[in-house]
């Protein structure tokens, strides 16, 4: 019965077209253009790994796509154009230490409009049953990460934007995330992840931020 709710959510996803595209994107941080001329498009069941050295703008790109930062130039097309379409997971998990894992997860589920069966499904996917009633600040880093990423498994968002999702996870849990990702992509979702490690999950596309480093020197712009 629990699985049934989830299957419904997933099949809704496959039916609706999902697009995440950017055209000629550039970003500035601290008075410096860090990347420019970035274009790509992802559609149903496509995923992309964002790689590149430190400071090349991986996190900046993901935060722009999640709507946390403004790009300097370029257009972003997100379809469905709905705030709930995107689920973002950054370096920090956003867990409230004073709340139990279950309470944390249920809050996000309510906010994203996911029903109770979805919460139980997410708990199952991340194998959180044993820590469900523990306050989140008693968890180790790896457990926190798992509890934080369980938000993805609620199944409401069709576009996942993950910044270094594998941090602090052991191989078993890396595999768990991989399964989560591939299920999501297979059922029609889009996933975008910035990562150093090459995971078991193989994204359909790959973008190296080093290729989009700003080529034109800054000088002339400030030369007024």
């Amino acid at each position: 019965m629990l699985g049934f709710g989830m299957v419904r959510a997933m099949s809704d996803q496959t039916q609706s077209p999902v697009t995440l595209g950017v055209r000629d994107l550039s970003a500035r941080r601290g008075g410096r253009t860090i990347f420019e001329g970035l274009s790509f498009e992802l559609q149903n069941s496509q995923s992309m790994a964002v790689v590149g050295p430190n400071g090349s703008g991986k996190s900046t790109l993901l935060r722009i796509l999640a709507g946390l930062l403004r790009s300097e130039t370029g257009t972003i097309q997100i379809d469905p154009d709905d705030r709930g379409a995107i689920c973002f997971a950054g370096h920090r998990d956003g867990l409230k230490g004073a709340l139990t894992v279950h309470e944390n997860l249920r809050f996000w589920a309510n906010l994203y409009g996911a029903a109770e069966p979805a919460v139980e499904h997410a708990v199952g996917r991340m194998a959180l049953e044993t820590v469900l009633d523990m306050p989140a600040d008693m968890l180790s880093a790896g457990w926190r990460r798992r509890a934080g990423l369980a938000r993805l498994a609620l199944g409401t968002a069709s576009i996942w934007i993950l910044d270094e999702p594998y941090t602090a996870l052991d191989t078993e849990n890396v595999a768990r995330i991989d399964t989560l990702l591939s299920t999501h992509v297979e059922s029609g979702g889009i996933a975008l992840l910035a990562t150093h490690q090459a995971p078991g999950f193989t994204p359909t596309q790959r973008i190296d931020m080093a290729d989009y480093r700003a080529k034109v020197p800054e000088g002339p712009e400030m030369d007024w």
């Binding site: 709930g84 998990d93 867990l95 409230k96 996000w108 938000r151």
Partner: protein
Amino acid sequence: MNTFFILVGRDLRLSVRHRADTVMVAGFFAITVILFPFGIGPEPGVLERVGAGILWVTALLASLLSLDHLFSDDEQDGALDLLLTSPAAPTVVVAAKIIAHWLTTGLPLTLLAPVLGITLQMPSSSAAPMMTALLIGTPTLSLIGAVGAALTLGARRRGILMPLVVLPLYIPILIFGVGAIDTTGMGFDAGGLFAVLGGFLLIAAALCPWAAAAALKIASE
């Protein structure tokens, strides 16, 4: 609207878990008020005359101190990023946090004020206008203070910066809050003054969530 209550519920649940925070704010309020008789002297006429002012100034400071972690907790553990990328509109997030803040600080201060008024030898007839004034005025403090808290998020020396930014904006509420209590105490009708306080509340409620949400977006950049 449902989103709003989910967010308020979460912050209330958190402050129940961290109930020491609310107790600390109330404790700060009480100890600071009690300092004044030592500073001014316990003569009945004097304390009674300045009582409303002491209570309001102290309430401003207590509200301000508690605003310090209104957004910073969520900012530090990453929840703020997730809230801002969630289906909830940023203004709704801000408005919910402000309501929750008021319920856990402004409201307790309002309830505590008459008790502290007794220690300042204020007549028992002043309790009703005092609580009314605080009831209308303290939400405005939370609203304006939330803008200050959002603006100073990530700033250096935030503890000193916040008062400098926020306290000048609190002055109108202080003036009319004290005015309403004193005018009633002198036996006049202060209905107009309560209406002005209500007007401030409406203006603040209309503008502050937007300003604070804009400030939060800047802070998350």
